[in-house]
Symmetry: C2
Subunit: 428 residues, 2 copies
Amino acid sequence: MSLEALPLELPEVEQRAVMPAGFRAAARAAGIKASGGPDLGVLATAEAPASVAATFTTNLLRAAPVEQSRAYLWASDPEGRGHWGRAHAVLSTSGCANAATGDDGQLDQKVLAQALGAALGVAPELTLAISTGLIGTRLPVDRIRSALGPLIAGLSWSDEALAALAEQMMTTDSRPKWATVRIELPADDGTPRPVTVSGIAKGVGMIHPRMATMLSLLLTDAAVQPATLHGLLLQAVERTWNQLTVDSDTSTNDTVFLLASGAARAPVMPGSTEAEALGQAIRSVARSLARQQAADGEGATTLITCQVSGARDDRQARAVARAVVASNLVKAAVHGRDPNWGRIAAAAGNAQVDGRPIEPWPELRISLCGVDVFRGEPQPFDAAALSALMDAPEILIRLDLRDRDGTGEAFGCDLSEQYVLENSAYST
Amino acid sequence: MSLEALPLELPEVEQRAVMPAGFRAAARAAGIKASGGPDLGVLATAEAPASVAATFTTNLLRAAPVEQSRAYLWASDPEGRGHWGRAHAVLSTSGCANAATGDDGQLDQKVLAQALGAALGVAPELTLAISTGLIGTRLPVDRIRSALGPLIAGLSWSDEALAALAEQMMTTDSRPKWATVRIELPADDGTPRPVTVSGIAKGVGMIHPRMATMLSLLLTDAAVQPATLHGLLLQAVERTWNQLTVDSDTSTNDTVFLLASGAARAPVMPGSTEAEALGQAIRSVARSLARQQAADGEGATTLITCQVSGARDDRQARAVARAVVASNLVKAAVHGRDPNWGRIAAAAGNAQVDGRPIEPWPELRISLCGVDVFRGEPQPFDAAALSALMDAPEILIRLDLRDRDGTGEAFGCDLSEQYVLENSAYST
């Protein structure tokens, strides 16, 4: 019997962008990217500000949009200490990270918040910002300010507008990432109301979210208080983006905003069954986006999912899964369709987790694409046949530590010559 | 003024293998490697067993030679708990890691220890073992046993025999690694006695020593008790091998043995000035070997040294230096001779160290090949000229955190298409 994929009871995802009620968006080219592609986007609420929950990079060198968004969120709800609050809009720029730009870069970001606030008729402190691109270069502030007016005039409620925003965020991405889950939650009078959770995200290099995550916007029309929303977001991020790696490099700009407009008029109280249902929908969207990011990793040809069971607890399982998909040697072996499972075992043994067992796992089992390769000792297998199975857009590595009942998964991609080519000639 | 290289007051190293008094070695082909190259080696003492200090991998999946050496050392001096003790010989096999081979692999290793002990006329528990190569394959025990007799008969005191042992340890290495420091220490009667510290090591993939280190043998003819020797070894390892990375993958087989024969008749007491002088010689040899390993990293064209000053303490400086040389994006940029210093800043900000400051380093300075690129804000520089400077067999990245006075360094190499090519077709 081989190690089957872990069962996941998450709501089904549609891989498309669907605009939840209460939000508008627009995107266009403003001259930040040398390519002339769309590089400026705005997401805005209808009238009332949305509840916001946020996670930011743990990189010590935080980009200016990260510092500013955190400070503004903190001002909007001091209790959230920068992790939740309220906002009317998110400004999205791509092609320039506005990171390691010193005081000048912080001022640039502030000027843009003032321009956005003025155009929307709201306080600048009720806007947020995300940015992605080259570190150490300045934003072309004048060009962005000139482009803001027509952009705001074109804000639209359509699904296409959200899709355009996803495309605007792209840098080395080969395709936009989007995911939607639709559920029903009861209104105040108990009648079921349709609720949408939709998310967009960008990849695909400097991706190793840690206690934080990558650029993504998650939107829902459910009515949720900011602190409750933050709890739901953390649960999802811990199991999805914090389990994603492309190259083990954590970016200076990682940001996830989860915005709830409340327009669906389905109130969600903390600890309720509705909160649980909404939380599962959020996790399902986040998982889909993280997997889309891994599949589109720079130079990648194969999405690697590693699932671990039998761990001491879920936290250990996640750490082991992540260590496997982060290993350069495992990634290179997958690229070469080489069933070199010894590297999987070695990578698992390197997982960093508090209170590691003194004894390793004497009954460890490993399967690769459904083929058992190790069960406490090496198993005979047909290497050529397994290599052929590995030649697929997605492969599953399963480990059973046979200790207790912790489970977890992580997402990564193969390491190719193309990754090196792309990243040895990026800035010059 | 640019950021100069950190001053290092270490004794000068000769990059060659010199056999210290009291040791013999031999190496030959025994049919482990498919290439038919030398894959079996023995290091042995003259008569009395040597004092031994050891560090082993922290990978949870420890190879059979690691488990056995630790157990034997423990038996030879229970106080050392497997980290120091005494031994007559080290058996070195290459081409097969004897890792993830279950109980059978442990038995193989024991049979070889018995054969070696019998051939040398010593207890098997007074022998040690190191092994490197493919994980998950078995050692050809019968072939190795047949080769042991002629090998032991050919044991030699010559420098060439130690060089042959260094060559026997190679797997994907393109050249052997060796280093020697000669010092003088006083004999019992106060007259100066020449003392040699010599080391050999192998690289060059699955290299990310952590609280442990890679395959290396360090030899000295100084007279040192095992526990004292262990203290000297740890000080050296912390600043050298634990600051080396090729691909962030920690091997299952990492082992350093430091053996002292005492043949120079220069006794070294713990805490003495002699211990300090010997410790510096050991560190100097270890640093040279670690740098040779980085320079010969799989697919590498450039040795990257990162030196950090102005850190809260030395530990933080070492963590930051190591984060920079471990970053795939920094490694790829160096390969492309791309002065993309933003990646250096981002990698430094990712350093994992306890009690990280809440505020990042507002006055951070970065220089690349002696050119200042960041001083709290981006500095103007000639990108083409700096790119030309980076086209060298060795480059220096300097960071000054401008916090307190901690310093440290780390060693790595660039990430090339060749690394991916080598590692996507290793086992099959």
